[in-house]
């Protein structure tokens, strides 16, 4: 067994050991492959089994009303948020954030737990059983957030995080769009178990048996091209709060997830839109959506290191506002006609871009010492808190019988508001840059 050591046992704080790790060979590629496989499989699991499969389980198999299902999903999001943040903070304070073996083992345990839960889910027949399942799954998902995202600094070189995030996004969305059009829990479980069982076995063997490769991967974050993210400005204060830019990114990414979730929750409930797009029986439509996800991910992967994050976030808000305005216009003017394919394709572009950002951004605000906390905060607040709040708001709007067009118009208005904020942030002068331009 590989003994787990704390970061402080190695070289003391602030004294990275660069010379111990060779830079070349196949090990770095194995590390990138491991991250891509784990992250894309995890995101695919969330996109399909958690977001769509559980709704089918609740409504069709158990027979719960939609409102109760929505409450269960909100419970899942809220609990996952709490567990993720708690785990991230504990890992931060105990300095486990830098310990590769611990993060890998935690991830292996999570994958084993989720595999078991995936196998059990189709057998559930009562609401109590579903609630117990949700509580256990929330613990697994919450533990998974800091452990999986925490591996970024060990496995993915800083310069290539955009490209790797693009590969992860493509590998998650393409099969989700093309091969998962049958939204039944049994179908999802059968598909995923083929993927998860060998994955869980492989990950357990890799994490708990002594391997040279894991020992070498564990040292990679000391290399200059790994570890510290591109947005880290003060490494001397690396264990403190990552700064105003991180807070801003957190708020804006929360906004992205919130408007996506709030809009999609209503679109997914509207057969005229979902039947001609994500739930279509036409393979050409599904391939078009999948290919658009890949194209947008590639574009985002190229642009992520080339543009500032506010520019990218501005693009995302603008695209979301545009796509939701398109849905509103369609609902107001020609609701009896099938929706043009351009609408879901544009949605796919926006979703892929922010997913790429999500996989690269939090690690780029972090050092190995802070990545567990920052990733837990980033993914927890932007992803799971946004899902929790948007689901709760959606329940409220559904209870108030808000029409489809009014619902999406509100979402479009929020998107435009956030777009304005990002444009203002981008256009208004940067205080530091302005100071640099002033003559001495």
């Amino acid at each position: 067994m590989v003994a787990i050591r704390s970061a402080g046992d190695r070289a003391g704080d602030g004294a990275p050991m660069r010379s111990r790790v060779p830079g070349g060979g196949w090990v770095p590629w194995f590390g990138v492959g491991l991250f891509v496989a784990a992250a894309s499989a995890g995101y695919f699991y969330n996109l399909t089994f958690v977001q769509l499969g559980l709704v089918d389980l609740g409504t069709r198999v158990i027979g719960l009303p939609e409102e109760r299902i929505a409450r269960s999903m909100a419970l899942l999001a809220g609990l996952t948020l709490l567990v993720a943040m708690g785990t991230g903070l504990v890992m931060h304070h105990r300095r486990w954030s830098e310990v590769f073996e611990l993060k890998l083992r935690l991830l292996a345990v999570v994958v084993v737990l989720q595999t078991a839960l995936t196998a059990v889910a189709p057998q559930l027949r009562s609401e109590a059983g579903l609630l117990v399942w949700i509580v256990v799954a929330s613990i697994g998902l919450g533990l998974g957030v800091p452990s999986l995202f925490g591996l970024t600094c060990d496995l993915v070189p800083t310069r290539h995080r955009g490209a790797v995030a693009a590969v992860v996004t493509s590998a998650a969305f393409l099969p989700a769009a093309v091969f998962s059009s049958d939204w039944r829990i049994e179908q999802f479980a059968a598909q995923l178990l083929w993927l998860m069982v060998p994955g869980a076995v492989g990950l357990v063997v890799l994490a708990f048996a002594p391997w040279t490769v894991t020992a070498r991967l564990a040292e990679q974050h000391h290399l200059p091209r790994y570890g510290t993210g591109r947005f880290v400005r003060h490494r001397a204060r690396s264990r403190g709060w990552p700064g105003r830019a991180f807070t801003l990114a957190l708020v804006l990414m929360f906004g992205v997830y919130f408007i996506d979730s709030l809009g999609f929750l209503r679109i997914v409930d509207t057969p005229v839109y979902i039947g001609s797009a994500w739930h279509s029986s036409d393979p050409a439509t599904l391939w078009a959506i999948g290919a658009t996800h890949v194209l947008a991910a590639v574009l985002a992967g190229i642009l992520y290191p080339a543009l500032g994050q506010r520019v990218l976030l501005g693009w995302i808000f603008g695209l979301f506002a545009l796509v939701q305005l398109n849905y509103v216009l369609h609902a107001l003017t020609t609701p009896e006609l099938p929706a043009p394919l351009g609408m879901p394709l544009l949605y796919a572009v926006a979703v892929s871009i922010y997913t790429v950002l999500n996989f690269a951004l939090w690690a780029d605000f972090s050092t190995p010492a802070t990545i567990a906390r920052n990733a837990a905060l980033g993914v927890g607040v932007s992803g799971w808190l946004a899902t929790f709040l948007s689901t709760a708001l959606s329940i409220g709007w559904a209870a108030a019988e808000l029409p489809f067009a009014a619902h999406l118009r509100a979402v479009a208005a929020i998107s435009l508001l956030l777009f304005s904020v990002t444009v203002l942030l981008f256009v208004l002068p940067d205080r530091r840059r302005a100071e640099e331009e002033e003559p001495a």
Binding site: A236, P305, L325, L428, P429, A434
Partner: protein
């Protein structure tokens, strides 16, 4: 001296103005099938005998009937759907699509213009203004696509090449540095420029379509299209300038910057026209050049500043302990 805040005020105001117009576009009431003043998009609508409908109407679907002795006070525009007029229209009738039928009892006090769609008039129809029937935009486009004589095609191509070369000469003479910065971005960062250009064009199409759909944002859509055209042309001029430099470097000749830009742009435009004749490959190559040109213009903001990626130096192994570019 121009400070940073002053330089940024104009684009900020422009963005806010455009945003305000866009927000205006989504503030319409949510009654199904009826948008803004009177936009008919579906179902059957009848202005009955002795009824008066006040205001302009645009028919984009469904059926509208103005019965005998009914009055429509305002202009009537038909984009799609069906209109049958037996009463009085106190205004113009414009038919751009769909069908419009004027029965023998119909009276139009203004002009009748049809450019596309089908206009039928029964004997006895009274039109006080002029009646104009022109071919529709689709017909005009179809006519323009008909194969011209080779000499005529060559002449048009040469005219295009000459105009672009002249523009390149002018741009390089009046503002050589912005053109140089844009050219440098296109040649040094073609992938990034291409990715940004692709994203812009992906977003521009639905944006313009949405604006046109709101009707009152059509002028803004026109401005957006003009802006896109200007960006594309300027990007091609910049790419032409870079090409001109390379050609002259290969030839071992030294020309002035405006002449080099004119030469490169002429060669680039001519090459694109020739490659465009090859199916599929021509379209792919032309698209690649255009998106790269558009992206380079946007990366450098029309050449007002040079483009440098924000993470330059990340992989150099240095550990400066702070002061990295925040990238936001």
């Amino acid at each position: 001296m121009t400070s940073a805040p002053t330089r940024r005020t104009c684009p900020l105001l422009l963005v806010l103005l455009l945003l305000g117009l866009l927000v205006t576009g989504c503030s319409a009431p949510a009654d199904t099938g009826r948008y803004s003043v009177t936009l008919i998009t579906q179902q059957h609508h009848v202005v009955d005998e002795r009824q008066i409908l006040v205001g302009d109407t645009v028919v984009a679907g469904g059926t509208v009937v103005v019965a005998e002795d009914a009055e429509h006070r305002g202009s009537l525009t038909v984009l799609a759907g069906e209109v049958r007029i037996s009463g009085r229209v106190a205004g113009d009738l414009t038919v751009l699509g769909g069908t419009a039928a004027l029965t023998g009892t119909a009276e139009i006090t203004g002009d009748v213009a049809a450019a596309g769609g089908a206009l039928t008039r029964e004997p006895g129809t009274m039109v006080r203004g002029s009646v104009t029937e022109e071919p529709g935009p689709a017909t005009v486009l179809e006519r323009s696509r008909r194969s011209r004589a080779p000499a005529e095609r060559a002449l048009w191509s040469l005219a295009g090449v000459a105009v672009m070369a002249g523009l390149a000469w002018l741009a390089a003479r009046l503002a050589p540095r912005p053109l140089h910065r844009t050219a440098a971005a296109a040649t040094a960062f073609p992938v990034i420029s291409g990715a940004l250009g692709t994203l812009v064009l992906i977003a521009a199409l639905p944006l313009v379509a949405s604006m046109i759909f709101t009707l009152f944002l059509i002028p803004v859509a026109g401005i957006v299209l003009l802006g896109l055209g200007a960006i594309t042309v300027y990007g091609l001029l910049a790419a032409g300038r870079a090409l001109g430099d390379r050609i002259l470097h290969r030839l071992g000749r030294t020309w002035s910057t405006p002449r080099a830009a004119a030469l490169g742009t002429a060669v680039l435009v001519a090459a694109l026209q020739v490659i465009g004749l090859v199916p599929v490959v021509g379209a792919v190559v032309t698209a690649a050049v255009l998106v790269t040109a558009v992206g380079a213009v946007l990366l450098t903001r029309f050449g007002l500043r040079p483009y440098t990626p924000p993470d330059d130096g990340t992989d150099d192994g240095t550990d400066d302990g702070g002061a990295r570019e925040a990238g936001v």
